[in-house]
Symmetry: C2
Subunit: 342 residues, 2 copies
DNA sequence: CTGTTAGCGCCTTCAG
DNA sequence: CTGAAGGCGCTAACAG
């Protein structure tokens, strides 16, 4: 019922090898013959079996993409961009959604990628153990987050410098009670991003001679709801902040929601800066540090493809630019009555 | 270098068949032997080659998911949910991002799914021709949009009734100049959603004795930017609407942005209702008709899996509930000075 | 330029 | 309960 390569070979009175060569555009087949073979194959509705050709050639023409959460705007956007690059190059994208610790552990334990894909693009930052497992596959590897890593081609941003942009913006506006919404539980993701952005926060405060206050820091879990809870916590402090740096736009939006619930005006009562450049940040007028999100996917996929073609001039690390976009959620501190701490 | 089934067979002094049976949990292997085989296989780091087992068994253990745009919240959320169901069941998800007409046409022309996947979940509404191509694969098919379709298991919502909820809400608030932001160019997606939601709009207006005015309708292309442009167009009408129904939350958010740019107050100057129940709708206080988005993916994937197990009691159509969530972008019409048309 | 010969690694009868 | 054969559909040398 399903038409195989020998079917078209028989129909044409040639050998299967010739059909194979003709259809894959390999040299060694006269143009005229090739054209006829292509026509007959199309007519018969022939498609090569992926499993059979993979088995015979050793290549799968598939690339695994590892994601923490596909539904999140950031990852969805990166995935979308990467998929375009891969499919254009003739590769299938096999998606592994490794959100929960359980799924993730099982994945790295079983490593179902072996003999299954030709390369892997990870949108999640692997732990050292996980990275080692991945390296053991012996195929090209790329990551879209974090800094350089041995054995991986990575595309990232300068998290620390970028986050400094945000905090310094607040300081320059005259704020001195500056809150931070980030996360301490990097467990499921194992990424360094929260650490780097937090360190930038601490650095800028120190530079400005502002004393660090634990009460001005809250965990927003990098989600909208978490951001809302975190902001609510900050508002419950003995002396709430006059400005807040949220390490992601989604947490910033959650914070905005909390402020609205408390009938506080932004930026009159409190300023908020986010991070990412979410497509909807503009809708709510959120000041943010924007990064070229889709480019993460496009660039990483492109580099991976080059590595797959055994190019030897593929860079190990590509740093993408970021920039502060000032909109309407940040404003100068009203006066210095509440400012300063010491 | 890569360990094959015969390697573990030799290491144990048994045949490859036995190893195969043991590892896949088929009966016919003593429990004791199975345990030892499993242990040795793990120790050797053996993973069955997907291509080889597919070729031999005829099953791929892969499911194709077709998407128009992965980056869009709605599709990303559905995909995320569906992936969880599939991977839990041991299936790989192969993603096909068919956003552009060109990609889409090439996809349906070549139909790379043949001998590649065991089932397909489509998040895009196929044209009749495309549906026919898909049916020709002879494998279980599911769709997460639209109504019942022969040959497909579909999970959807009652678009018309749901949209009526939104428009009627506006009418009940006393509005009579009600605008619509939707789209007429369903070309790339070929979906009926815009038609159904628009029809609901027309029906409710007619029911309320409000005359239809072409000038109150604008194309928002179902994107944030499109929604912004559409709202701007509506504001340029000789007599702008006092309320607008945007057929998607993303367009509604774009409309909100346009209104802010024009310094118009929502809901004081104009009311806006969206559709979808976007996770960020709450942040901007958007009144909307919410649908259980992730459930689309979960349910469709579940039904597909049952169909794959040859269950015969799988429903052809599953309708998910929707509900109007009133927030802060809709309010009663100020007075009737601007209301009415005839 | 084209055909022949061997597998790729696994699963599935069919024997025992 | 286990082993031996055969083949899934294709590609890769190797001949000619």
């Amino acid at each position: 019922m399903t038409v195989s390569i020998t079917d078209v070979a028989n129909a044409m009175g040639v050998s299967a090898s010739t059909v194979s060569r003709a259809l894959r555009g390999r040299e060694g087949v006269s143009e005229e013959l090739r054209a006829r073979i292509v026509a007959v194959a199309a007519e018969l509705g022939y498609t090569a079996s992926r499993s059979a050709s993979s088995l015979a050639s050793g290549r799968t023409y598939s690339i695994a993409v590892l994601a923490p959460y596909v539904g999140r705007w950031f990852f969805g956007t990166v995935l979308d961009a990467a998929e375009r690059v891969f499919s254009t190059a003739g590769y299938d994208v096999v998606l592994y959604n490794l959100g929960s610790a359980e799924t993730r552990n099982r994945f790295f334990a079983e490593l179902p990628l072996r003999k299954r894909v030709d390369a892997v693009l990870s949108m999640l930052l692997p732990t050292e153990d996980e990275a080692e497992r991945l390296r053991s596959l012996g195929i090209p590897l790329a990551i879209t987050v974090g800094g350089p890593r041995p054995g991986f081609t990575t595309v990232g941003i300068d998290d620390r410098a970028s986050a400094e942009l945000a905090v310094r913006h607040l300081v320059n506006l005259g704020h001195r009670r500056i809150g931070l919404i980030g996360t301490r539980s990097t467990a499921p993701l194992h990424w360094t991003t929260p650490d780097l952005r937090r360190r930038a926060y601490l650095d800028v405060l120190a530079d400005a001679g502002i004393e660090y206050e634990p009460a001005l820091e809250a965990d927003g879990e990098y989600t909208v709801d978490g951001g809302e809870r975190a902001m609510t916590d900050l508002l419950a402090a003995r002396q709430p902040p006059t400005a807040v740096f949220a390490e992601s736009d989604e947490m910033a939006m959650g914070a905005l929601r909390a402020l609205r619930a408390h009938r506080l005006l932004v930026p009159d009562d409190i300023s908020i800066v986010g991070f990412d450049g979410h497509e909807l940040a503009d809708v709510v007028g959120l000041t943010t540090v924007a990064q070229p999100v889709a480019d993460h996917g496009t660039e990483a996929a492109g580099l991976l493809l080059r590595r797959l073609q055994a190019a030897d001039d593929v860079p190990d690390y590509l740093e993408l630019p970021t920039r502060l976009i000032v909109r309407n959620t940040t404003a100068p501190h009203r006066n210095s009555r509440n400012g300063g701490t010491s």
